[in-house]
């Protein structure tokens, strides 16, 4: 979705906005305010980190010929985060894989959440949760586009009154 363009809800709609033949003036466009970015503390560090992984990670960064993170995977990761993060969610660590993949991670004293983005619509999600009896409950799910299950994990993370985890890099 392109909130900035205002009246277009389709990226593939092109003529309406750019061609002189059907030049449309959209009154509504000027008044739309995007507030999402302003308050969510995970957004800026995440964008910066993804930008770094896609455009600044040098080839062979792991010593075995690894590539930078794939552009599509980075976008897909961001669109997952839009659907699972709350305003209070701490910025995740984002770690590159060797094949253009990446992993989104949060770690607290009681929880580990890892979302391995192998490709668009192909995500391995793991939760490790320390129970009251000290035992670890491990949950692993393979996901495509529905991250509803992960929202409850991340919500628990935000409710955890532990220090937020920032990216190490």
């Amino acid at each position: 979705m392109n909130a900035i363009s205002g009246f277009r809800n389709s990226d593939s709609s092109v003529w309406n906005s750019r061609e002189p033949v059907n030049n449309i003036v959209a009154f509504g466009a000027m008044h739309r305010i995007v507030v999402f970015d302003a308050n969510y503390k995970w957004i800026k560090p995440t964008k910066d980190r993804l930008d770094e992984l896609v455009s600044k990670l040098v080839p062979n960064w792991d010593g075995y010929g690894a590539k930078p993170v794939n552009f599509l995977n980075a976008h897909f990761a961001y669109q997952i985060l839009e659907k699972v993060c709350l305003e209070t969610t701490p910025p995740p660590s984002i770690v590159p894989g060797s094949a253009g993949d990446l992993q989104i991670e949060w770690h607290t004293n009681r929880m580990d959440i890892e979302l391995h983005v192998l490709a668009p619509n192909k995500v391995h999600a793991t939760l490790n949760l320390m129970m009251a009896d000290g035992l670890i409950r491990e949950e692993f799910i393979e996901l495509e586009n529905d991250f509803t299950k992960v929202t409850s994990w991340v919500k628990s993370l935000a409710e955890d009154d532990l220090a937020p985890i920032a990216s190490a890099a």
Partner: protein, 154 residues
């Protein structure tokens, strides 16, 4: 002596295999980029540890096979830290196999169009659960340590 050449598919990619010439007692090295592979974790002894994606890849996890490096009289620590890869971890092949990995040989020639030359290059195939990842690292040791990063997983 180098392991025997592996079988490759029509695209030149090594077919996943568990190489007979990689002995159970052999060392297997995996390099660590401290800027990319390390995450903060308050449960870790030092607050920093290696991410699990470091040992996860659908196309195989790259490693260096230690015995042939040493048999060629090459300084292994220097080899795996040239030019910039500061850290590395040593596994024993039998521990990797117990964790479910196949250990293959995938030498990379000098004229390879994509990957850097590495005659001792190997690949691991398999997928680790979080528990197996932790158990495997509990048996591993730093080959070239990274200061302030815990190897044992919480």
């Amino acid at each position: 002596m180098l392991p025997s050449p592996p079988q490759r598919d029509e695209h030149g990619r090594v077919i996943p295999h568990d190489h007979i010439d990689v002995l159970s007692s052999d060392g297997v090295i995996r390099r660590v980029n401290p800027q990319q592979h390390v995450v903060l974790d308050p449960k870790s002894e030092t607050g920093k540890r290696i991410s699990s994606i470091w040992l996860s890849s659908s196309t195989g996890v790259s490693v260096d096979l230690l015995r042939p490096i040493e048999e060629d009289g090459v300084d292994a620590r220097k080899f795996v830290t040239t030019p910039v890869y500061v850290g590395s971890v040593k596994f024993i092949a039998s521990d990797l196999r117990t964790a479910g990995f196949k250990i293959g040989f995938d030498p990379i020639a000098k004229d390879d169009p994509i990957d850097p030359e590495n005659p001792y290059h190997g690949l691991l195939w398999g997928r680790l659960s979080s528990t197996r990842f932790k158990n495997l690292l509990a048996k591993a040791e730093w080959f070239v340590p990274i200061e302030g990063v815990a190897l044992k997983q919480p």
